[in-house]
Structure formats: C-alpha cells, structure tokens
C-alpha cells in the first residue's frame, strides 16, 4: 500500500533510532502485529554511526492511538529515541519505480509526464518504459495517480524516510534517566 488519501488524519510518521542489533526489525514488526497496530510503510537503514539504525515508520493512527504505539515501541530495550514528525516539521522523501506499457501512441505522453514531474527514464524497450521519481510522498502520490491512466506493469515505492526540519522543535522522546 502506498501513502494515499487523507494522510493528515489517519497517518503519522515516526522516526525510531535503534541500536543496530540482530533481530531488531523483527522485534518492531512483532510489536505492531501483536498489538494490532498497522504499518503503512517502513524504511530502515544504518545511520552515519553504524552502531545505530534509523527506522522510518508511517503508522496508521486509526488502528491505535499514536501515544500507545510510541510508548510500547519505547519499551523495546534497543529503541533509543523516537521522534514524532508532525507534517510541516519534517523533510520527507520517497522513491518510486515503475515500468509502464509504452506503445508508440502513448510513449510521448508518458515521457512528457515524467518530464513535468522531473522524474527520470531509467530503461527503454520497444514497448515499455521504466521510470523513476523521487521527492515528497504527496508528489509521488500525484505522479502515481496520473500514471494510472496508462498500463502499469509493475510499480514499487520505497516507503518514506524522514528527518526533522533544521531549526524546528520536534516532539522527541529520548530514553534518558
């Protein structure tokens, strides 16, 4: 599932800094599954310090109160810090890859669409195009919606990653005594 629709009301991005330990991702996923919380998207990779990873989770806050999700996540021993990113307080990016049927009749339109969104053509064959677009998730939503006018063979989004905006106060919870 992609992050479509009325995001402000139903979804929330949280950024979880974790110790880079074996099975950590399974612990997080287990917690969500066991308590009935829904994950909309999830991206995980090491930070600049390889001892830590950052997990960006878009959570469905209709499935459970955000406060409970954050508090339960915090009980995981290897979770070091959780930042709740209010929209407008975060820099969010996502990557989209799509392979589209592109017969001669519509190829020009698809190329134009990719151009308008400042995306890239990554691969071309006689009947198909593979395109990419990176940017804010809502921009990707718009692009994806328009792409649906054509015959999509495969489409994959990366799930969003996010950092707090520089100089803005973010509700940030830290495991300090």
């Amino acid at each position: 599932m992609t992050a479509n629709g009325t995001e402000a009301e139903t979804e929330q991005t949280i950024v979880v800094l974790v110790e880079n330990k074996a099975g950590l991702l399974a612990r997080v996923a287990d917690l969500f599954a066991r308590r009935g919380y829904n994950i909309v998207s999830l991206a995980v990779a090491p930070t600049h310090d390889p001892a830590f990873s950052r997990i960006t989770i878009v959570v469905d806050v209709e499935s459970a109160p955000l406060e409970q999700i954050v508090k339960q996540l915090f009980k995981l021993i290897h979770v070091v810090e959780i930042a709740v990113l209010e929209s407008g307080y975060a820099v969010e990016r996502e990557l989209l890859l799509a392979t589209v049927e592109a017969p001669t009749a519509t190829r020009g339109q698809i190329v134009e669409l990719v151009d308008i969104f400042e995306g890239k053509i990554l691969a071309v064959s006689s009947g198909r195009l593979t395109v990419s677009l990176d940017g804010r998730p809502d921009k990707l939503d718009d692009f994806e919606a328009l792409l649906h006018d054509y015959d999509i063979v495969e489409l994959q989004r990366s799930g969003r990653i996010a950092l707090p905006k520089i100089g803005r106060q973010v509700p940030r919870l830290r495991a300090v005594g």
């Binding site: 110790e19 066991r34 109160p65 021993i77 495991a175 300090v176 005594g177």
Partner: protein, 586 residues
Amino acid sequence: MSLEGTELNGGQALIKSLEMEGVEVIFGYPGGAILPVYDPIIDSKIRHVLVRHEQGAGHMAEGYAHATGRPGVCMVTSGPAATNVVTPLADAHLDSVPMVCITGQVAMPAIGTDAFQECDTTGITRSVTKHNMLVTAAADIPDAIAEAFHIATTGRPGPVLVDIPKNIVDANNPDAYFTYHHPRSVDLPGYKPDQTPPAESIEAAVDLLLTAKRPVLYVGGGVLKARGAEALLQLAEVGNLPVVTTLMARGAFPDSHELCLGMPGMHGNYAAVTAMQRSDLLLAMGSRFDDRVTGKVGAFAPDAKVIHVDIDPAEHGKVRIPDVSVVGDCRIAMELMNTEIDQRGGARAFADHTPWRQQLSGWQEKYPLTYEQSGPGDYLKPQYVIERLRDGCPDDTIVASGVGQHQMWASQYWNFNYPYTWINSGGLGTMGFSIPAAIGAKVGMPDRLVWAVDGDGCFQMTAQELVTASVERIPIKVALINNAYLGMVRQWQELFYEERYSEVHLTHDMPDYVKWAEAMGCVAFRVEDPDEVELTIAKANQINDQPVVVEFRCISSEKVYPMVPAGGSNDEILVDPSQRTEGEQS
C-alpha cells in the same frame, strides 16, 4: 576463590556470571545443547533443583522471585525444553516477575538448518519476555548475563531469556575460552527506566487527593514489586484512605486493617467493587485497570478522577486516561507524596471522609463474604476448608494458588496481613502454577510455612513436581480442593450456558490422589468430614521433612460469589444468593 582475570570457557563463565549476580539457586533440567553448562555446576556453590518438567522450572523461578523479591533463575536445554518454558515466561511477563531464563541452543553453525532439538527460541519468546538475546561469542557471556539481570530487575520487572549456542560453551572448543572479567556496569543506551517521578506530578496528585470526598486507593502488584508496603500504610493512614488490593496485590496492605476493603474485581468483595464504582477519586498505585478489575470499561467508576502511579509509561492511558499521571517507582512516589502531604499539614489537610467511610462500612456489614455450611453427609464446603486452613496456620504463611475457583476462595477468605505471602498467576491465569510456585517460594524462604492451595484440575497439570519436592527435600504442603470438576468453567456453564456441562467433569476419585501423592514421596491425607478438617491441617503442619498433600473432598456445585459477569458493568455485581433481595435473579 576469585576467577577474575583467569581463562575460562563459556560454560564456566556462564556459571561464574550467575555467581557474581548473587544467584543461590537454579531451577533446571539438562539436555543436549546445555550439557556443557551443566558440567561446571558440579563445582559451583549454586544449588541446582532438578525439576521433572521444564514448565515446573519456570514457575519455581517465579515462585522464588515472588517470595524473595530476588530474580528467579531457570535453565533448560534447546528445542522442546525451550518451548516448555514459554508458559512460565508468558506468566512472568504478564505479572511482571523478575526472572532470568537460560536456554541451550544448537551450535551456531547448525542454527537455521533444522538441526535436532533446534527451534527459534528468541523468535518464539519475543512477545512473552521483557527482553531476550542470542549470545554468539563466549566472550560476550558476562555482558549478556549482567544485562539480563539488570533488565529483569529494574523498571517494570519481567522475564529475560538468554539463548546460548552449544559451541560457545563447549570445553572442547578452543574458541570458547577467554579471559573472564565481570562487567562493572551495564550500558544500554535505549533502557533508562524512570525511577523518581517529576515533582510537579506529585504536587498535582496531592492537590487532587486532598480535595477528594470519596477516595479509593486502588493498589496493584506494582506496590509489591516496588517494596512499597510501608509507604502505602503511611499514605493510607495519614489520608484516612480506603484501600482495595487487587489479586496481584493481596498482602500489600493488611486485610485486618480497618481501611482495607479487600479485593476488587470480578470476584471482589461487594464493598471493594462498589466503593470504586461510587468513588470520586481513584488513586491507582501500581495497578493497570485490568479487565477483571474494571468490568465494562465504559461503566467503570464513572464519577472518579484518576491519579495513575506506575513505572511503565505505557500503562498510563492504556485503558483509562488519568487526570494526573505519575510515572515512576511506586515506593518512591508514595514517599514523595507522604512528604508533600506532611508539608501541607498532614491528616488535617484532607477533606472529611467520614460520610464516605460510613457508607463503606454499611456495605461491608450488609454484604460480607458469606456461604452456607454443608449439610449432614455432604462433602466439604471449599470456603470452610480455606477458613480452617487460614486459622490453623501462622499469619506469615506463604500461600500459592493455582487458577480457578479455589484461587478466588483463597484470595477472598485468607487474611493477608503481610506482603509477599500470596503467590498466584493473575494475568495469564496459568493452571498448574501453584505446586511449582510453592516449591520455588519454599526454596527461597525455607523457614516459612508454605501451602499450595490447588484445584483438582490444576493438580493434574503439574503434580509431578511433588517428586522434585520429595527428592530435593522441599517440604511444601498442598491443600487440594477436590470438587471433581473444572469448577470455574462449570460455574460459567451453570450460569451462562443453561447448565449444559460440557467436558468439565473430572470425578472425585480418578485418579486416587492419596495413592498418587504417596507414590511421589509425600505424606497424604483425604478429608471428607468437616470435623476432621482442623485436625488434619494440624497434623500436616507438624510434618517438616516431607511434602504433604491433603485432599479435601468438596461439593461440586459451590460457586464463587460475588461475581460480576464477564463484560458486564461492576454495578451488576451478583452477591451470594442468601444476600439477594426479592426479585433479583441468580
């Protein structure tokens, strides 16, 4: 002899680490993958209690922890042994019992190959432990054990599992040797539990407390975990605050105290349940608004403001949004509140609770716990047995119960006047808990009288641990409330399934409990006549060198009252039939 700085193999290091943590007893069962760790046990001062089933090891560790406050330790091998401790781990997790469980694992090169007795122990136990870990190098063992004990015993306590692959403890593996150092401290950047609550929250709590007209102190197991009974007594007395103690908190406040209303919840006293319903302030102290206490949440204590004191931030607002949230250790929180109250004038600063106390006394007088004595020729009334047992034992006797009707009667009819005298499975409701838990408690508190109050269903789940008790000379006593049925299930079928009894009849005489107990090395009695109850209890209490089982043949149809039907409002509490007024249905 200090082995600090000497060359040890992983198995020796594991046992050395347990010694350094002050462990005096391990409840365990050996097997293939954990074999290398069992060899150095021979040379260790740590006592090992050889159980008869791994589940027993886990519950013994729990019973030990409940009774002593120190973390219980169990050790078992891989695969089926690890899956057999899942139940006690889940039990300890729900009841916040500090426990460290060591499991063997197949050698690292075999992990993931579906090797003999391999299972994904850390995966299986992830959701039933506070934390777990797979250790991958011998040199990591001292840190792993130190972390396990730190996590198990601090913050909200709980079970921690340490999975140990065979090769890293193997004396024949040159890579399993390293220079042992015990870690001086534990460094967990993501784990810093809050102990001391913020001063503002204490002040806000006292503000509310002083103005309340109908307060109730709703005490949960967190008070016992925090060793907070003394601070609680002071707080209740200075504020003239009525106290209810949940199933996990029985004994945290003396039942004999005039402020004590007893147990709330599904089978709580009428006065305790109704006091919460009518209160204008609930001071929830280490309690978690469990569904067995609240009944229908929307109808629970509708007029009450809530102060919630708990060390686990996630409990705040999980079920009921508190008006004042105090995150921290219950004992510290109550001590700070006591100081704050003192500074504001002490007892004089509180509102007048006289009308409230009078109302509560009225309910206590009108609806005390009650039951009818058995008729001539009938089997025993279970409540009568519990009362005679209570009166025939010293006040500091430790009582461990199983799960079901006998558990409720024990909690209702015993007078708990000291903390850590009541051990039971509250959250998970694990049948078969009592015998192994009683054994663990007796190992930790050898000078105390320890009775397991058990049901016939429960007894048949873990009775084999009486062999452990006999062989290891752990003289516990078992009061077996034999009513021939899975009594609580029978009660629900009678009340809510039109008396259609489905698969609940166990029979009074199959098995022959006396013969079975004797075969396991116990002294055994069977009591059918009310006149013999006291005498037999006195006889049992005189036996100190063997476990004792007393089978009390009880009436099958007896039900636990009061009762709030599951999912119902606490206002719909059913009292004993003899207390019902005209028109009330059963």
